[in-house]
């Protein structure tokens, strides 16, 4: 058996979101459950049908147990792999194995965070993490993480390839233009290239508009085997490939700041799916910072290394551009509750089902989803497709 044999053998049959932006007064478990129940209902299933679950948390190392208990389920498959924001993309392949082997029949992938409105917020977490999860060879220099790591990568990309301030701004403006077409997006005010460049400085070359937002939010999706998916409420979205690559944790341990492990996750994912970048109708690329989109366009083969800046220039990834990228508005303008991977998945599924209203692409059949975690540390690529793409 090879991974190719798993191509299209599992499908996403339900998606849900909750508490995007601010979820004042709710706990993480509560917003997660709202999103989970929305996804289960979307699939035409009930909570008692769920016998597999994947979830992880920025706060709780034993989060899987908490969610199982709260939902009152007795799963035969549980995966709480925590590799940052890419986790909810990286959970796909383990879930596919579990479904294919018969270990379970319906996997709920779910995440929720109230890092914006909770009493213990994002700033508290950053402070505490210095003690719980020290990086003794970086922390002494007081890099504001994660922004500093991505700023270092941007500095190197600009130096090595001539990527410009304007090209970084293009990524933020394109995301905002998509967000303006998405009623669920958090940030929808007009944003110009000048607005991005002149916003409050964070760490050069980044201003606050190069950085994803700090929001609340929850997202979930449900997976079944493809044979069972046909009986669910909506058109199944098939998982054609998934691969995860991790080369390092700390940005100072990266071999080349302009090349991420997406190079490897992308290659292995394309191999499993039997398609390439040129075949994609949509690219959902984890845009924690503007440089991410440029790096991943390159590493995932949408353009050559060093040409990502030119690729995004002049509105090329905005609505009406040459490639649809981050059509929900991305982490930059839609939602970013600490870990954003699950929201990439939700948007790709909705696009492939044709549910995206004003921002809907014209009959897309293939979408690439790429999750990033840590400080360019973990990379997970997935390819989703409609029945036509099988």
């Amino acid at each position: 058996m090879s991974l190719r044999d798993l191509r299209g053998r599992a499908a996403i049959v339900g998606v849900g979101q909750a508490g995007l932006g601010q979820a004042q007064g709710y706990t993480e478990q509560e917003v997660l459950t709202q999103a989970a129940m929305a996804a289960i209902a979307d699939a035409g299933l009930s909570l008692k049908d769920i016998d597999g679950i994947t979830t992880c948390s920025s706060l709780s190392p034993m989060w899987g147990m908490s969610v199982v208990e709260y939902l009152g389920i007795r799963p035969t498959f549980l995966d709480s792999t925590m590799i940052g924001g890419s986790s909810y993309v990286a959970h796909l392949l383990p879930a596919m194995h579990a479904l294919e082997s018969g270990q379970c029949n319906a996997v709920l992938v779910c995440y929720g965070s109230t890092q914006r409105t909770a009493k213990f917020n994002r700033a508290d977490l950053t402070r505490v993490r210095k003690f719980l999860d020290p990086q003794p060879f970086e922390t002494p220099y007081d890099p504001p993480m994660p922004a500093a790591a991505y700023a270092l990568a941007a500095s190197r990309h600009m130096h090595q390839y001539g990527t410009t301030r304007k090209q970084l701004s293009e990524v933020a403006v394109a995301a905002r233009k998509w967000a303006q077409l998405n009623p669920e997006a958090t940030m929808r005010d007009a944003l110009s290239l000048e607005d991005v460049a002149n916003a409050r400085r964070v760490c050069d070359p980044f201003t606050v508009r190069d950085c994803c937002m700090v929001s609340d939010g929850a997202g979930a999706f449900v997976m079944t085997r493809a044979d069972r998916a046909r009986d669910c409420a909506k058109a199944p979205v098939y998982v054609l490939g998934n691969a995860t690559a991790v080369w390092n944790r700390q940005v100072s341990s990266m071999h080349d700041l302009t090349v991420t492990a997406a190079l490897e996750s992308g290659r292995r994912c394309y191999e499993m799916a039997g398609v390439g970048a040129k075949d994609m109708d949509l690219a959902m690329l984890y845009d924690a910072f503007t440089i991410n989109t440029i790096l991943f366009l390159e590493d995932l083969g949408f353009c050559e290394k060093g040409e990502g800046g030119a690729f995004v220039d002049d509105g090329a990834i905005a609505p009406g551009g040459r490639l649809a990228v981050n059509t929900n508005g991305g982490g930059l303008s839609c939602v970013h509750p600490g870990m954003y991977g699950v929201f990439l998945m939700v948007e790709a599924v909705r696009q492939l089902r044709g549910e995206c209203g004003e921002r809907q692409l014209n009959s897309p059949s293939l979408a690439l989803v790429h999750g990033n975690g840590g400080t360019l540390s973990s990379q997970s690529t997935a390819i989703l497709g409609t029945r036509d793409a099988l």
């Binding site: 003794p136 060879f137 970086e138 002494p140 220099y141 007081d142 890099p143 504001p144 500093a148 700023a151 270092l152 990568a153 500095s155 190197r156 130096h159 409050r200 400085r201 964070v202 760490c203 050069d204 070359p205 700390q250 940005v251 100072s252 341990s253 700041l257």
Partner: protein, 133 residues
């Protein structure tokens, strides 16, 4: 021989490194198997998997590989530099270039290591080579 091994005086490599800095010595590791310099201090060589890592004193000369100026309010100390420096022995480390305004730190700048106190711990920082010379 004990002074040549990665552990010293009952301490692991990380503590040995920090104790060295506290005593005014900047020492990193080299793999006896494959010859690669290794940073940060470890128990095994990440290049070849070998377990033999010896300490040595690098020259302290390096080149800025990537750099950022972190914005901070003047009343909190003002802007500061965070960078990655490639030592001439072939390892990369996070640090700060000091003795020059942060916006004047450039990729490719030649820098020299020195030991400075950060909080209550001795750490490596860098200065432009022409200043240090």
């Amino acid at each position: 021989m004990e002074m040549q091994s990665k552990a010293r005086g009952g301490a692991g490599p990380e503590q040995v490194y920090l104790d060295g800095l506290a005593a005014g010595r900047f020492e990193i590791q080299r793999c006896v198997g494959c010859g690669h310099a290794v940073f940060y201090p470890r128990w095994v060589c990440p290049h070849c998997g070998g377990a033999g890592l010896d300490w040595f004193a690098p020259s302290g000369a390096g080149v800025v590989y990537a750099t950022t100026t972190v914005a901070r309010k003047p009343e909190q100390g003002g802007d500061y530099n965070v960078c990655l420096v490639d030592l001439e022995e072939g390892v990369r480390m996070m640090s700060q270039v000091r003795a020059v305004a942060p916006e004047h730190v450039r990729i490719g700048m030649r820098v020299q290591a020195r030991i400075a106190m950060i909080g209550d711990a001795a750490q490596i920082v860098f200065e432009p080579s022409e200043v240090a010379a």
